[in-house]
């Protein structure tokens, strides 16, 4: 059976086919809306999300760089101020050097290492028993004072024994050396 499609009547105005142009106009609007909804709108939405993420991430990056700069400056300042202490904590205890350092105040006879232990998880504490001969206790005070500027971090501690010996004083004391672990 043959279907008969009704022929669209041709309406012309100033020689322009009104129906055809109307259909093209509808087609144009349809294609325009279709492309807008299917391609352009999702692209804009996606672009907006990515752009927002871009600026958020950039803001975070700027902040982290600022913080890093601040930390670097703080570290450099602290390092500069405490250079002597930092290097002192890196050095091993050198018996000969210590003898030389002490020679101005007393004569070191013996340095005995007693024990080595971890101190506060970050340091190694070595304990030595020092035996020395000195002429007067004043030298001991001077030595303790000078030890603040020694190249190692040393703590003079109890027990301290002074014993008269042939006109001099035999001194025995505990010395603790601290080093970075």
């Amino acid at each position: 059976m043959k279907i008969k499609i009704p022929k669209i009547p041709k309406i012309e105005m100033f020689g322009i086919d009104v129906i055809k142009n109307m259909l093209f106009f509808i087609l144009f609007i349809f294609i325009f809306l279709f492309l807008l909804g299917v391609i352009v709108a999702p692209s804009i939405k996606n672009f907006k999300i990515i752009k927002k993420e871009y600026f958020t991430t950039k803001f975070k990056l700027d902040n982290s760089e600022k913080e890093l700069n601040m930390k670097t400056l703080e570290y450099q300042k602290l390092f500069k101020e405490n250079k002597r202490t930092i290097f002192a904590f890196k050095r091993e205890f050198d018996k000969e050097n210590f003898k030389n350092f002490s020679s101005k105040y007393m004569k070191i006879i013996d340095i005995k290492e007693k024990k080595s232990e971890i101190y506060e998880n970050k340091f190694i504490k070595k304990t030595f028993i020092i035996t020395a001969i000195l002429s007067t206790p004043t030298n001991f005070y001077k030595f303790v004072k000078a030890s603040q500027n020694y190249k190692n971090i040393i703590k003079i501690y109890f027990p301290i024994v002074f014993k008269a010996k042939n006109g001099n004083i035999k001194l025995v004391y505990k010395l603790e050396h601290f080093k970075k672990r």
Binding site: I16, D17, K20, N21, F24, F28, I31, F32, L35, L36, I39, V40, S43, I44, N46, F47, I50, K51, E53, Y54, T57, K60, L61, S64, E67, L68, K71, T72, E74, Y75, L78, F79, N82, T85, I86, F89, E120, K122, F123, P137, F140, Y141, V144, K145, S147, Q148, I153, I154, K155, I156, Y157, F158, P159, I160, V161, F162, K163, A164, F178, K180
Partner: protein
Amino acid sequence: MYSFTKANKKPFFAEDTKLWLIFIFAISALMIFFSLFLLTKSYFYKNDISEFKVQISKNNKKITDFSNKIIFIKKEKELNTQISVNNELLKDGVKNLLDLIPDPITLTNIKISKNSLFIYGVTPSKEIYNVLLLPPLKSIFNITITNFYQMDNGWYKFESINKLKEEK
């Protein structure tokens, strides 16, 4: 029939149809081009975001490293100060103790511990010891015990044991 004019070739599309088609094609191309432009821009943004994230992660790691170093330097500084103060206090403590010994009394041995002091020496008489040395020792220590041993020349050897009570 015969015509004096030549037959014109009939165009495939009418003029207005062509115009509409061009118009539709142009707007479609424009929209597709715009979308492609946005996609390209998004692609570059995404690349930048990935780079930023890597950089942020590196920065955070460096910040943590610096923070740890700063904490450690502060700890070193604190320990050094504490040791310096301890040494200074020890020096003053020993000096003050030795300054307590009056001239007539001679020491032969002195052992200073954290909570105790042992003094061995020679005194011309018990009275001199009891008047000049005992009171300051008693004022410092909780327990003070002294033993005297007379020598051939009449002087006394003494041993003084002084202790601080441990705080509970």
